[in-house]
Amino acid sequence: MPEPMGFYTDTTVCIGCKACEVACKEWNQLPATGGGRHEMSGDSYDNTRRLDGIHWRHVKFIEQFPEDRADGRWLMMSDVCKHCVNAPCLEVCPTGAIIRTEFDTVVIQSDTCNGCRACIGACPFGVIGINDVSNVAQKCTLCYDRLQAGMEPACSQACPTDSIRFGTIRELKQMAQARVEQLHNLGEKRAYLYGADDKFLGGLNSFYLLVDQPEVYGLPVSPKMPTRNLVPSSLFSTAGAAVLTLLAMVGLRKRRMEEKTAAESDHV
């Protein structure tokens, strides 16, 4: 059994070149948006806009500049499926299409998915979408086919600055911790790791080094499992059903008694 594999993304060295996006699209033969029609979003250099069924990598551009532009910084981050240790998508998939692989990654089996879209609403990171060509839900597979052949995922191999690192989770965490310490020593005290520990979702097999709050990067602060609401919601509904049954039975009995009384008084 191989060790758990994943990505560590150091956003401080991302230059926004989008080589990862292109490599991902090429290797996985993902179609272009709108059949290749070119549209500019107007949002910095981000024309991909979101992760979905045909965008399994998405480089985010965050411009932090004051009005006078005297100071400021760019934040860039190559976003991808987090391959959560406790994956909400896998948990809710009603067809069993989403599986955990021998590399501890999360993969959607296209021949099983029927496009119910439960996984899309369950993913706390908005990663999954319907691929308009295959008409099933799709997302990053962490290049499962390449991993099985002993190769590195296309995106991390293409990354020119090693912002995206691929390896065993154990090695990646060591590498990431060392980088955080290095940045702290250099004066960048805001650096921290997002998803490297098991504080949420049991940990992320694709975790990040960030230098600002998660929301700034479009990430939830404390993502949760969707089933957290199952027991309380079900209990409320069950109690409601019991009350309705009681109401219906008592109401009908009352009406019958009234009718009986009226009939008796008419008879008298």
Partner: protein, 321 residues
């Protein structure tokens, strides 16, 4: 900002809104028809549990449930991106084994709909056999068996359990996501159940007008049940909005207006104001009230589903209100 704001929309729109509406009506119509069948013996012949007075409206409930469950299955199937793979919900395509996840409402709901469909079919068949005594096939021994006390009671009880499940699980299904509004409260299942319990009798009143005209007691029971349920619905709706906390701000727009005017005004307050005093229920006013309740029930599902739809991650931020 709630963590639910960073998610993507599953785009459950009109087909699902219609399913939630029709499925809820079907489930509670079956339940009410069963309560009438099981508990009301007015005018019943000796040795029979079937009431001669209420049986006609109970039969309408069973027909409504059966047509509703057929429509529900159809709506759910066409909403899939790959409709021909609808059976993957029930059978694992790689192994051929049953596919069932107790912790996933969509999975339990698919099975519940299947079983509810079976009981609704049997109950509708028995009702048809009563309604059409001149059709020979409907008087065959297996169908006559369905009308006997024990089988009819089993069908009524089990079908009611599945019917109420169908009416309420849809809200739980939404709560077991990570989407704004849906996952930000634990009361959506209860709210949808109560809404279904108000639209079910309303649909029965609308579709069973002719039979209810001859059965004022059932009409009185249905409209008073509806009245109490609508009050409960209003209370739960208010608690639901409070439980959303700051997320409730997403209703500060057009959807909030629909919620206020359509759901609360037309669907809840108007029926409460127009509700006839006990003993003075006339069919015409009951039908009018039923119409308002149905409009409110549909709009509630529309607002809950589509108001969440407007919020999603774009670029590095969240769009929406």
């Amino acid at each position: 900002m709630s963590d639910t704001f960073f998610t993507a929309s599953p785009h459950w729109a009109w087909w699902i809104i219609l399913y939630f509406f029709i499925g809820g009506i079907a489930g509670t119509a079956f339940f009410l028809a069963s309560v009438l069948s099981l508990l009301d013996r007015r005018g019943a012949s000796h040795g029979s549990r079937v009431s001669a007075t209420t049986r006609p409206i109970a039969r309408v409930g069973y027909y409504l449930a059966f047509v509703g469950v057929l429509l529900s299955g159809f709506l759910l199937t066409i909403d899939l991106s790959r409709p021909l793979r609808f059976w993957h919900m029930l059978i694992e395509n790689h192994t051929g084994r049953p596919m069932f996840k107790l912790w996933e409402p969509m999975s339990t709901g698919a099975w519940a709909l299947l079983f509810f469909g079976l009981f609704a079919f049997l109950a509708a068949l028995a009702a048809l056999s009563e309604d059409r005594p001149n059709i020979r096939f409907l008087q065959s021994p297996p169908l006559r068996l369905l009308r006997q006390q024990a089988p009819a009671a089993i069908i009524a009880v089990l079908g009611s359990i599945f019917g109420l499940y169908i009416a309420g699980y849809t809200g739980v299904l939404l709560a077991v996501t990570n989407r704004p509004i849906w996952a930000d409260s634990q009361l959506l299942g209860l709210l949808f159940l109560l809404s279904a319990a108000s639209t079910g009798p309303a649909a029965l009143i609308l579709l069973g007008q002719r039979r209810l005209a001859a059965d004022p007691t059932s009409l009185s029971w249905l409209i008073s049940f509806d009245w109490i349920v609508v009050i409960l619905e209003l209370v739960v709706l208010i608690v639901f909005l409070i439980s959303l906390g700051s997320v409730a701000r997403v209703f500060l727009n057009w959807w909030g207006l629909v919620l206020l005017v359509g759901v609360v005004g037309v669907g809840i307050l108007l029926p409460l104001i127009l509700h006839p005093r006990h003993g003075t229920e006339d069919l015409e006013s009951c039908v009018r009230i039923a119409g308002f309740v149905l409009v409110g029930g549909f709009l509630l599902r529309m607002v809950v589903l589509l108001s969440s739809e407007q919020i999603h991650v774009i670029g590095s931020g969240v769009t929406g209100p």
